[in-house]
Symmetry: C2
Subunit: 177 residues, 2 copies
């Protein structure tokens, strides 16, 4: 951030009143520009004893497998964002079951919220951001080709869950080494 997005003048960074954190602020129009983490929403869609994964068609992590997920948009409910991303990336029709995992990536200021979901039918097919969309049994999950740590965490919790009717939300975090 170099310029004030409100008035276009050079931005300042430092202490502002009643705040312990340093912020970007504008000395010209007196606006404080807060910066906060972004939410990534997605689903873990299941069908019988299988789950759905997407092979990424775009960078980063092109050609690796992931769950359908992406940035929550302004004016969107969290579960609606998860459904939208599942449609966009896998053209999969789903019914949300419950929130399954919340994974913090503090070094990039992202919070993943992944919902367990049931596929309504098998009419899924790749969206623009996916090369392939496939169902995998637990023992077929391509662990060496999973795109993101947040997704690996979620898949691991799913595979090792002893009771999926329990409502536990799995909290995880990754700290960059």
């Amino acid at each position: 951030m170099n310029f004030c997005s409100n008035c276009g003048q050079k931005i300042s960074f430092g202490k502002v009143p009643d705040d312990e954190k340093e912020r970007f602020y504008c000395e010209n129009c007196n606006i404080i520009h807060y910066q906060n983490p972004k939410i990534i929403v997605g689903t873990l869609p299941r069908w019988e004893d299988k789950i759905l994964l997407c092979k990424r068609a775009i960078e980063p992590r092109k050609n690796l497998w992931t769950l359908p997920a992406g940035f929550l948009e302004n004016n969107e409910r969290i579960e609606d964002g998860a459904i939208r991303e599942t449609t966009e990336e896998a053209n999969a029709e789903i019914k949300i079951v419950r929130l399954f995992s919340v994974y913090s990536l503090p070094h990039v200021s992202q919070i993943y919220c992944i919902f367990l979901a049931d596929l309504v039918n098998l009419n899924f097919h790749p969206g623009d951001e996916s090369l392939e969309v496939e169902l995998f049994k637990k023992e077929e999950i391509p662990w060496q080709k999973i795109a993101f740590n947040s997704i690996r965490f979620t898949l691991d919790k799913f595979v090792n869950a002893t009771d999926l009717t329990d409502h536990e939300v799995h909290l995880g975090t990754w700290n960059k080494k």
Copy 2:
């Protein structure tokens, strides 16, 4: 948003490549300025059969009661943000139990994430943003003086929970009339 925060030139708004949503973008330096929802994190701290509420010392909703909560900061894990806000607003020492409610406010692009927590001791006292911090039995909750719908939703789910050892995360939303 009127100016590009990167180069300071006048900003444009409209269609960008490979995106269904219109965005702010800069024709000078080619940056797209995405805008996304913010996360508000907080806790529902309990002690025996009571819960802790804070009377707000600041606008909006000054003098009304709320749970300790505030914006998640960059580079912060979601549960660490909830603990920090509980310290800042109530000087309360807590231990997180689990995620309890996720409440979407699409009209203001906010997602509340409230964690059930246990108070570790009774040494709480108001922080700068609180006038009073008090414990309330369920039947003492000042329903007519609760600051926010998101907090009323969370308190209602807590009061009406038949089994708090269950792990259910309560999903809620509010649409502005």
